[in-house]
């Protein structure tokens, strides 16, 4: 009953605080939409200058979606690239010898351009060669690609979005629950609570339930928005996605409340973000873990977001069922359990009983 009173009060305070509500429910949707638009933008056509390149080849380039500008003899290729705002400049020095000057202000664009130019040059010279030597019948190589997960339409955002959903749930729940209990500490109301016959466990469970309810609503909104409005790939079951996120929210809740014990002000709570939140993003699977040093991979294993991201990616992108993600779910439950126990002990600072 004391827990109920506390839960009621938390809800009442939440409803009075429209801005926090907006942060909890609208902000994740806003950022998710923004990311969606950013990652699903059309690829920009590269601008390539050509010098002394034969017409047939230029046509091939144009077919591949390049903007081609022709130039006469040049003295300084690099200078031209910069002045003409080109992504690359292709010069034919002699037969079968080309020089490609890349702007390389963005390595990924440059690499892509280089690859495409190489590809086109190879196929072009091959066709020219086969045309010249008709009698030798060169077999054209065809590659068919099959995908285990996803399809040829798969974009990076499809893999990223499950992680993002998990991250937003984690981040906002962490922040709001942490600051919620912190406010109670700084205004002295926690002390006052401790002068009533309430038990420490009752306070912790009230916070878990009170903020948990908002976390549930947030999770459901974010998941439904991502899947129905943004049309993010969901191969597996929607209920599994919600289950994973709820467990993650529970971890975030208990971690937020726990860390708020070690913060004296709201600002100090925000200081935990680079320590407790940002590293989790790195280890959540946005960057490939396989390439990391062995001990770094172990670091990933103590991060709740790693398990949640793994499970979310498994369900949403690979279509795994509940049985395949049991380990991840168990890890999340374990995290939440540890944090909750620690919370009850942390409140001992306020009353020994």
């Amino acid at each position: 009953m004391r827990t109920t009173a506390l839960v009621k009060r938390i809800c009442l305070e939440m409803f009075r605080d429209k801005r926090t509500l907006a942060l909890l429910f609208v902000a994740p949707l806003l950022i998710l939409s923004l990311m969606y638009l950013l990652f699903n933008g059309d690829t920009v056509k590269p601008k390539v200058g050509v010098v002394n390149v034969e017409q047939g080849l230029i046509e091939k380039f144009e077919d591949a979606g390049f903007y081609i500008s022709k130039y006469q003899e040049l003295n300084d290729a690099k200078d031209t690239v910069v002045k003409e705002e080109l992504d690359g400049l292709l010069q034919q020095d002699k037969a079968n010898h080309f020089t490609l000057t890349l702007l390389n202000d963005d390595p990924s664009i440059a690499k892509q351009l280089q690859m495409k130019v190489n590809q086109i040059l190879t196929t072009y010279t091959q066709t020219v060669f086969t045309n010249q030597v008709q009698q030798i019948n060169l077999q054209k190589v065809n590659i068919e690609t099959a995908y285990v997960y996803g399809s040829h339409d798969t974009v990076f955002f499809d893999v990223l979005s499950p992680i993002l959903i998990g991250f937003f749930v984690f981040f906002f729940v962490f922040l709001i629950s942490g600051i919620g209990l912190l406010k109670e500490r700084t205004t002295g109301t926690l002390e006052r609570l401790m002068s009533t016959p309430i038990r420490r466990g009752e306070i912790v469970s009230a916070y878990l339930i009170g903020f948990g309810m908002f976390a549930v609503i947030q999770t459901v909104i974010v998941v439904f928005y991502a899947i129905n409005v943004l049309d993010i790939v969901l191969v597996g079951s929607l209920w599994n996605v919600i289950l994973i996120n709820l467990l993650l929210a529970l971890v975030a809740l208990s971690l937020g409340i726990l860390l708020s014990t070690f913060a004296a002000t709201e600002f100090q709570m925000v200081q935990f973000i680079p320590i407790a939140i940002i590293p989790q993003i790195f280890f959540s699977g946005i960057l490939p873990l396989e390439g990391m040093a062995g001990w770094l991979q172990w670091v990933a294993k103590v991060m709740p977001l790693y398990y949640a991201a793994d499970a979310l990616k498994g369900v949403m992108y690979m279509g795994l069922g509940l049985g395949d993600i049991t380990f991840d779910l168990a890890a999340l439950v374990l995290f939440a359990f540890i944090f909750i126990i620690l919370n009850i002990f942390a409140l001992k600072r306020y009353r020994k009983l």
Binding site: L6, T187, G188, P197
Partner: protein, 240 residues
Amino acid sequence: MSVSIEIENISKSFGKKQVLNGVQLAISEGKLYGLIGPSGAGKTTLVKMIVGMDKSNSGFIKVLNKQMPNLEVLKDIGYMAQSDALYSSLTGKENLTFFASLYKLNKAEMQKRISYTASLVNLTNELNKKVSAYSGGMKRRLSLAIALIHNPKILILDEPTVGIDPELKIGIWNELLRLKKEGKTIIVTTHVMDEAERCDFIAMVRDGQILTSGTPDELKQLYHAKTFDEVFLNAGRLEA
């Protein structure tokens, strides 16, 4: 007359700093007891220990014959801290209701106590306003009302009159005297010497020790002083 609070040889240190050193006090039922001393003397620490929020390094505290900390006894203690400790986004009534439900008062009792304590501190007409719109004095009064909401036998007020205007100060003191008549045991901490006169018993606290204690008249006689400032100074000199 029974003893409602028994403080037995309490010592407490935070790290190297000794905050309380062998404090010994017995507080009788139905008396208004003043803990008087400068800021940093250890009054708040002592009061927190009585409520059970802090643990002593040695010695023990018994409240209503039960050793603290004890959750059951907390039902009989009303505690008002130095800070107002209110939920500012809630109304006065919501604050009172919340704390009343922590003491598990039933609906009818709750209604009765809320209207009673609100009228006691003169906030009946402001109960539906948000606390954030309250003035400093109103917050103090609401804080007092919360400490009284469950009709506790013991009332512990940590600096209840700091930073409020003289009129309200007199109001609060009159209220305390009235509550005393109801048979409540009241402990008030203050660093304002002129409030000492109104207490039944006084304990002067300095550097974590009780310098002296007794009724106001006893103390004045003992230290040949006219005012409590003098009592405090003389007692301090004697100690040194």
